[in-house]
């Protein structure tokens, strides 16, 4: 009862409208992303929905695409890894981009960046879902079309993300490309620091564990 009250008709309509807005964004990236952020046409709920759809499709894709196109080893398949392969780059990318753009007078907040990136992944949902089905009704020779479609999805997403960067932070094209490169470098630095951090922590733990063992061996 409480939930039903919470999801009242107003907010459900709002959610539907913001989700439908993603279809406008992928066709008109500049207007779309501007309105998404500045006119409050997008919502976090819709962004999360798109991201979850992307993750689900990524899992289905590896499992259900015909083996002629994606060959995966069932015994080595790991759903968690499959999900993290998308989530981690998005998370680190958003953080790195936000860190850098705040320095280079970008206008966007972390929330804006995340929302825009999620909306930019809409083509993945729209194209890869039918591709799973198509892969099962084409032969290997006809499958050239399949790999072109794959490439096309990537390029479309890249263009959308670039457009999003320009609109969110109010950048020109040159500055947006520069920010993209800087973001990539920033991501590498973040990963490096994370690795360093984890290896230091595990070394620290190892020290105490060996100390404990030493004591145990001495007194037993």
């Amino acid at each position: 009862m409480k939930i039903a009250e919470k999801i009242n008709k107003e907010s459900l309509n709002e959610y539907k409208r913001s989700l439908r807005f993603s279809l406008h964004v992928i066709g008109h990236p500049f207007d779309g992303f501007w309105d998404l952020i500045h006119e409050k046409r997008g919502s976090m709920a819709a962004a999360n929905t798109i991201l979850i759809a992307v993750l689900l499709i990524r899992i289905w894709r590896t499992q259900l695409t015909n083996f002629m196109f994606i060959l995966y080893r069932p015994e080595k398949f790991n759903v968690l890894m499959c999900v993290l392969e998308i989530l981690v780059p998005i998370a680190i990318g958003c953080v790195s981009n936000w860190c850098l753009t705040t320095l280079f007078d970008g206008k966007g907040t972390l929330k804006n960046i995340y929302m825009a990136v999620c909306y930019a992944y809409t083509p993945y949902v729209l194209l890869q879902l039918p591709m799973i089905f198509i892969s099962n009704i084409v032969t290997r020779e006809e499958g050239v079309f399949w790999s072109y479609m794959d490439r096309f999805t990537d390029i479309w997403i890249a263009i959308l993300i670039l457009a999003a960067m320009m609109m969110i932070h109010d950048y020109g094209l040159g500055k947006a490309i520069f920010a993209a490169i800087a973001t990539a470098i920033g991501m590498l630095i973040i990963i490096f620091i994370l690795l360093l951090f984890f290896s230091l922590i595990s070394d620290g733990f190892a020290y105490f564990i060996s100390l404990y063992k030493e004591i145990v061996f001495r007194f037993y």
């Binding site: 083996f67 002629m68 060959l71 080893r73 009704i137 032969t139 290997r140 020779e141 499958g143």
Partner: protein, 494 residues
């Protein structure tokens, strides 16, 4: 009472152990480690395709041990061994289960005088029974008739392409049916030296192109003198062995290559040369025929296989032997690995330093220059079934081939080629759906696609009626509804 119980339990345990032991004894019969690679490049154990039948030493024939023998040739019912260290050729008669001495050749008639060999490295006997012997240290190839009278000598080529300052040290020889001799020489990297039937040098065949990349050049410029000496020099391939197949094509092996060139098929350790000297070996397997795919490292043995001899059989299966891990690899005519077996060791069926591999029928003979012995390997039932299946497929008897493959699957359900074979046979019988199932099991995309295409065509042809009916309904129903409504409206208006 308590004691009785303990005894009872003990007896039960013993019984259980006896009941469970057949599995253990079955395993003990697998004396030779045999395996194949699956699609992921992982070794999968398989039953033995070959088992060692006997191993003979020189001393078994009362002629003293062989001393570092280097070459072997088998034809008809004879096995010839170039006993290099003892400067002699040993001719053996191969029975079904034994080898016996025919004669020892250590002298021959050179005109009126007797002549001898000096560390002969290889021997070849043609169909007439003429001997061709690589008399290495004497820098010549000796051609003798079957009564050991000298026919001719093949000497150092007098040609500007041959570096005259370099000694001519022939190491391997084969002679084709027309009498053309193909000779490999030590330190000769221009390919295979070819002699006319009259013994004249006619040129080289099969020299591989020297590849020289810009990166190598820059790297070389930057490195010091010492580093440069350590690097591999840009020399073309030096072949280390040669064998003729039933059609007269020369199979050659080489072990001079860069490790990283192996898997993308740039190194080509096994080549099949046509008369023009180009490589025509068929490679339809997941990886080219390079020996081991998964190299591993252990017991001081690492790196890729160094194939040092190859022998093509009458059924187009060829076997190559690896010096690194002393294993023998069998490939079918499509270049797919059938099985690999053998290993480094002292036991029968294992080798210390194999130098030559040859065959009589389907029996394999391996010459080991460390243990100075010859090992005879014979096909097991498993190997026979695989050979039968391949042979039946080559003859076009696909049903029979599938039956043999099913027999193979009973012995080894991990055998990928059997699935492919059954699938192909089903495809020929127009049983597309079953064929697809077999191909999908082992991820044969190319074959699966072919079967799928035919199945899809059949399916559409079968269901075309439904499609047409569905389409008609889609078109007609809205139209009729429209007309009905129109008529109704007209009626009501009136």
């Amino acid at each position: 009472m308590k004691r009785k119980k303990i005894i009872q339990r003990f007896v039960c345990l013993l019984l259980a152990m006896i009941l469970l032991s057949p599995a253990a004894t079955l395993k003990a019969e697998n004396n030779f480690y045999t395996y194949v690679y699956d699609i992921w490049g992982e070794a999968k154990e398989s039953p033995d395709a070959y088992s060692a039948q006997l191993r003979v030493f020189g001393i078994d024939f009362g002629i003293g041990d062989f001393r570092q023998p280097q070459g072997m040739y088998a034809a008809g019912d004879r096995v010839y061994i170039a006993d290099t260290g003892n400067n002699r050729i040993v001719e053996l008669l191969a029975g079904t289960e034994s080898l016996s001495l025919v004669r020892v050749i250590d002298t021959f008639k050179n005109g009126d005088a007797d002549d001898t060999f000096k560390s002969p490295n290889d021997v070849f006997v043609d169909k007439k029974g003429d001997f061709y012997i690589c008399d290495t240290e004497n820098k010549r190839v000796v051609h003798l008739d079957k009564d050991l009278n000298l026919v001719k000598l093949l000497l150092q080529p007098v040609d500007e392409t041959y570096d005259a300052s370099q000694d001519f040290l022939p190491t391997k020889i084969v002679v084709d049916d027309a009498g053309r001799a193909l000779v490999l020489g030590r330190n000769v990297n221009k390919g295979v030296i070819q002699y006319s039937p009259e013994g004249e040098f006619t040129g080289y065949i099969g020299a591989s192109k020297v590849t020289f990349s810009m990166v190598d050049y820059i790297w070389k410029k930057l490195s010091t003198q010492a580093q440069r000496a350590q690097m591999e020099s840009f020399v073309p391939t030096e072949y280390n062995n040669i064998a003729l197949d039933k059609d007269g094509f020369a199979y050659v092996t080489t072990s001079v290559f860069s490790e990283w060139d192996l898997k993308d098929d740039k190194a080509k350790p096994i080549r099949k040369l046509n008369s023009m000297g180009s490589d025509i070996l068929i490679k339809n397997g997941d990886t080219p025929p390079i020996g081991d795919i998964d190299w591993g490292e252990g017991a001081g043995i690492k790196g890729p296989s160094k194939l040092i001899d190859v022998t093509p059989l009458e059924n187009d299966i060829y076997y190559a032997i690896d010096r690194t891990r002393c294993r023998i690899f069998g490939y079918d005519s499509q270049g797919q690995l059938l099985y690999a077996f053998g290993g480094n060791g002292n036991m029968m069926g294992y080798f210390m330093n194999p130098v030559a591999l040859d065959h009589l029928g389907t029996d394999l003979y391996v010459l080991d220059s460390r243990t100075n012995s010859v090992t005879k390997l014979v096909l097991t039932n498993y190997g026979i079934q695989i050979n039968n299946a391949i042979l039946a497929y080559q003859k076009g008897d696909y049903d029979l081939s599938a039956d043999y493959w099913r027999e193979v699957l009973k012995l080894n359900s991990n055998y990928d080629l059997a699935y492919l074979g059954i699938g192909r046979a089903l495809l020929r019988q127009n049983r597309y759906e079953e064929a697809m199932e077999y191909f999908e099991l082992k991820y044969y995309g190319r074959a699966y696609s072919k079967a799928f295409k035919l199945w899809r065509k059949e399916w559409i042809e079968e269901h075309i009626a439904y499609f047409i009916v569905g389409l008609l309904i889609l078109i007609i129903v809205p139209k009729t509804i429209k007309t009905v409504k129109k008529v109704k409206r007209e009626v009501s208006e009136e």
